[in-house]
Symmetry: C2
Subunit: 137 residues, 2 copies
C-alpha cells in the first residue's frame, strides 16, 4: 500500500476514535454505538462475559449514558496496523475526572479493530482494560 494512503487511513481512524472519546467523556456513548458494526464484539473490565452484536452493545451503553464525566484525557502512542480493509488501532489511554473536589486518574489499554464496510470504517472488536489494575486506586 502506498505510504500516503496508509497515513490517510491512520489519520482517519485516530480522528474517528478521538471524536467518539470526546462524546464519551461528556456522558454520551452514542458515537461508539454508531461506529460499531452489527457484528461487533466487546470487552471491558466490568463485564462477566463478552458482549456480542451492536444491539446488545447499544443496550449496555444506554445503561452508562450520562454517568461518565471526563475532564481531560490523553491517547498515548496510538498505533494503527493496516491490512487491506482492516485497521487495528491500539493505544494506552489516561483520563482525569473530578468529583467532590477530588481528581481521579484512570489508566487503560485499548484495542479497536476497524473494518472498512461500504467505505466507512466501523468497529468490529473493542477491548478496554485497566492498565495494571492492582496498582490503581
Amino acid at each position: 500500500m502506498a505510504e500516503a494512503l496508509r497515513e490517510d487511513i491512520v489519520s482517519e481512524i485516530v480522528a474517528q476514535e478521538r471524536k467518539a472519546l470526546d462524546r464519551w467523556g461528556n456522558g454520551d456513548p452514542g458515537e461508539f454505538v454508531e461506529l460499531s458494526a452489527p457484528e461487533v464484539t466487546y470487552f471491558d473490565p466490568h463485564l462477566e462475559r463478552r458482549i456480542d452484536g451492536q444491539e446488545a452493545l447499544r443496550d449496555y451503553y444506554a445503561s452508562l449514558a450520562g454517568k461518565i464525566r471526563i475532564d481531560r484525557y490523553e491517547l498515548l502512542n496510538p498505533k494503527v496496523q493496516v491490512h487491506g480493509d482492516i485497521a487495528v488501532l491500539t493505544f494506552n489511554y489516561v483520563s482525569w475526572s473530578t468529583a467532590g473536589g477530588k481528581t481521579t486518574e484512570s489508566r487503560w489499554n485499548c484495542t479497536e479493530v476497524y473494518a472498512r464496510i461500504d467505505r466507512e470504517w466501523r468497529i468490529i472488536q473493542t477491548h478496554w482494560s485497566l492498565t495494571r489494575p492492582g496498582q490503581q486506586a
Copy 2:
C-alpha cells in the same frame, strides 16, 4: 466466503490458540512467540505500556518462562470474525492453578488478531485482561 472455508479457518485458528495455551500452561511461552508476527502489538494487565514487536515480546515472554503452571483451563465461547486475510479471535478464559494445596481460579478476556502471512496465520495483536479484576482474589 464459502461457509465450509470459513469453518476451516475458525477450526484452524482455535486449534492454534489451544496448542499455544497448552504449552503456556506448562510454563513454555514459546508457541506464542513463534505464532506472533514481527509487527505484533501486545497488552496484558501487568504492563505499564503496550509492547511493540516480536523481539520485545520474545524478551518479555522469556522473563515468564517456567513461572506459569496451569492445571486446567477452559476457553469459553470462542468467536472468530473472518475478514479476508484477517481473523479476529475473542474468548473468555478461565484457568485453575494449585500451589501449596490451594487452588486459584483466574478469569480473563482475550482478543487475538490473526493475519494470514505467507499462508500461515500469525498473531498481529494480543490483548489479555482480567475479567472484573476487582472481583477476583
